[in-house]
């Protein structure tokens, strides 16, 4: 049980490439922190530096009060769950789980007790005599976890442990892992590229892009108040809709937002709560709105009368509980910086937008419909810096 602190940690390779740059994080005792970002963003490298598997080029690493930059992995009192599990193929489950204890010289009797304890937490009692080759993916993953928890380390490190499992299993394991961590109360670093895992499992989530920390905050805050365009687009599925827009004063008073050739009213509260916005009137900005804040106007004919878009439905996905509708709007698109993001739907002049409509919507592909957009929920970002306003 310990706190952990990264102080401007960096990793530079011989050819000059910076995998991690100035990463600073502070973990409370027992906290579950998720490091999330697209592939290649440096999150695994950061984790391996904490484990001691990679040298730290810059910065300092603390566990508790100790600076541990130069300690070998085995002296750091950390346990790690690898993406490919890294189980010892020639040993049984029992031997795999008990291995760290054996190395530390525990007696067989005591070892067995700990192994049994870990096995019962992870429901591996039946598998103890088997070898990894005889187990399913999910079972192997649990053995890897067993090996980690049996030592009661100061820190848990998990490197995308669920990415090799199939979807249904992943959902179940997410809950299991979160539950175990809560019961054991061990400070945990969890790395993933899946933002759903990040949002559901972490006490706090740190979004990383190109080795640089974008924002670290509890999931709800990341969702509701993203600090920049990248975080806004990365968190949330389907992604936030982003395009260029201009805020201006209506001739009759009040505020309006121009998105392409369409214009919607904007409540005064939006400007009042964002003082910096007032200085950006009549300038192009990056505007974001989440899919759930769009709705088929036909289903709520009396709402948000002055906050409507006229669009043509391009794609329709009926999910059962709701229907996703995709349509282009005539506003300039924005590149969020996520290498895995989809391209614009219609081309370079229009932005692709997604709305989460109620399942009762009658909108079909090709229909020209009215869509309500709750402009009180708009996000604004600077066009150059992509920072939130």
């Amino acid at each position: 049980m310990a706190t952990a602190r990264l102080d401007r940690i960096g990793k530079v390779y011989e050819n000059g490439f910076r995998a991690v740059d100035g990463l600073s994080l502070d973990l409370a005792d027992g906290e579950f922190l998720v490091l999330v970002g697209p592939s290649g963003c440096g999150k695994s490298t950061a984790l391996r530096m904490i484990a001691g598997l990679e040298d730290i080029s810059e910065g300092e690493l603390f566990v508790g009060d100790r600076q541990i930059n130069d300690l070998a992995p085995r002296d750091r009192d950390v346990a790690m769950v690898f993406q490919n599990y890294a189980l010892y193929p020639q040993m049984t489950v029992r031997q795999n789980v008990g291995f760290p204890l054996k190395i530390r010289g525990q007696r067989p009797h005591e070892r067995e007790r700990q192994v049994q304890r870990a096995a019962s937490i992870l429901e591996l009692m039946e598998q103890l005599g088997k070898k990894p080759g005889q187990l399913s993916g999910g079972q192997r993953q649990r053995v890897a976890m067993g090996r980690a928890i049996v030592r009661k380390p100061s820190l848990f490190l998990m490197d995308e442990p669920l990415s090799n499992l199939d979807a249904k299993l992943r959902v179940q394991m997410r809950a299991d892992i979160a539950g175990i961590q809560k019961d054991l109360g061990v400070t945990t670093f969890y790395v993933t590229h899946d933002q759903i895992e990040a949002m559901t499992m972490g006490h706090r989530v740190a979004v990383i892009k190109d080795g640089v920390l974008q924002q670290v905050a509890p999931p709800e805050e990341l969702y509701a108040r993203p600090d920049n365009v990248f975080v806004a687009a990365f968190i949330g599925s389907p992604s936030m809709n982003l395009c260029e827009g201009t805020l201006y004063r209506a001739t009759a008073g009040g505020w309006r937002i121009a998105l392409g050739d369409q214009s919607l009213a904007v409540p005064d509260t939006v400007i009042d709560t964002r003082p910096a916005l007032a200085a950006r009137v009549d300038q192009p900005l990056v505007v974001g709105f989440r899919p759930e804040h769009l709705e088929d106007a036909a289903l709520a004919p009396d709402d948000l009368l002055d906050q409507r878009l006229s669009v043509t439905v391009a794609v329709r996905e009926a999910l059962g509980a709701e229907t996703l509708v995709h349509f282009p709007i005539d506003a300039s698109p924005v590149d969020s910086g996520d290498p895995d993001a989809l391209d614009a739907l219609g081309g370079r002049e229009s932005s692709r937008c997604t709305g989460r409509f109620a399942a009762s919507t009658r909108a079909r592909v090709g229909d020209r419909i009215e869509v309500t957009l709750d402009t009180s929920q708009l996000h604004f970002f600077d066009r150059q810096t992509h920072l939130a306003i």
Binding site: D7, R8, G10, V12, G52, D55, I56, S57, E58, G59, E60, N69, D70, A72
Partner: protein, 306 residues
């Protein structure tokens, strides 16, 4: 993200203590082998080069002659001829291995009945020591009691006994044949492994595109095999270029130097003429040829890393 932070930490250190320790550990694992090789390979190699600079009988006569033997050998038609013969030998043998090995591998990679039995039989030649191969074939080629003559006569292809190993051309053919017989299984196994690592869907895609059996071989099998066979070809060529045993025991380099591969030439110079300095020089020349070939080949086919 505060601005009033303490000054940046010092720039990245050249090597952390952990990396240095790992480097030392790695060196520790490797050093026994390195030491042995330095003593048993590098030292003799250097000594061999040293010897090539002297006219010597390794006992009491050591006359420094510098590069004389190199110059002499490179202008000696006999030595050049043996180099040519050796190169021809290596090319034919390796070529034979490739053709036979790949052909058999292609056959063995398909759904044949009793595949494993055929494979076991076809690997047999590899298990025979070179000495044994040389002797068996010499016995088969024997002029009077050899199996070859007997078989050919009984089907009427020849009427008198042929002394195969006494004829320059046929002796060469015989040693090439024996070497191909002995060595093809290795290439066959490598090709087989290579073929089995080619994903089946490539063949399916080719078939859908209209490729017949031969087309599939040409456009899927061969390119897929190229990396493995590439390395094999280098090693094989060098191996058979320096080959000694089979040729020596079958023909001793004759008749009339028809099969005088360079290893035999060097052997005779050293251990029959006792001209060790010259022999060493000839060996050094062979060494350079082999290295040059390997380098040239790697240049030509840069996509594999050995």
């Amino acid at each position: 993200m505060s601005d009033a932070s303490p000054p940046l930490p010092p720039p990245a250190r050249k090597r952390s203590p952990a990396a240095a320790a790992r480097s030392r550990t790695g060196f520790a694992f490797v050093s026994p082998a390195m030491l042995v090789m330095a003593l048993l390979v590098v030292y003799p190699l250097a000594y061999g080069i040293y010897i090539s600079l002297f006219r010597t009988n390794l006992l009491n006569r050591w006359d420094f002659v510098g590069l004389t033997f190199f110059v002499q050998s490179l202008s000696d038609p006999g030595f050049l001829r043996s180099l040519f013969i050796t190169a021809l030998y290596a090319i034919l043998v390796v070529g034979g291995h490739l053709i036979v090995g790949v052909a058999l591998a292609v056959v063995l990679a398909t759904q044949i009945r009793m595949r494993l039995l055929f494979r076991a039989i076809l690997i047999l030649p590899w298990l025979f020591p070179e000495v044994v191969v040389a002797l068996i074939f010499r016995w088969i080629f024997d002029p009077i009691f050899g199996l070859l003559n007997h078989l050919l006569r009984s089907v009427g292809l020849i009427s008198t006994q042929v002394a195969w190993l006494d004829d320059p051309t046929w002796a060469f053919v015989a040693v090439v044949g024996a070497a191909i017989w002995k060595g093809y299984p290795l290439v066959m196994l490598l090709a087989l492994a290579g073929l089995q690592s080619i994903p089946r869907d490539r063949y399916e895609a080719a078939a859908l595109d209209g490729a017949g059996r031969f087309g599939q071989f040409r456009y899927v099998s061969l390119p897929g095999l190229a990396p493995i066979l590439g390395v094999a070809v280098i090693l094989e060529f060098v191996w058979w270029f320096k080959h000694f045993t089979i040729v020596w025991l079958m023909t001793k380099g004759g008749p009339v130097d028809a099969t005088n591969v360079v290893s035999i030439d060097i052997y005779r110079t050293a251990f029959q003429s006792f001209d060790f300095g010259r022999a060493s020089a000839m060996a050094v020349i062979v060494l350079f040829i082999c290295i040059a070939f390997a380098i040239a080949y790697r240049r030509m086919v840069p996509d594999e890393q050995a």
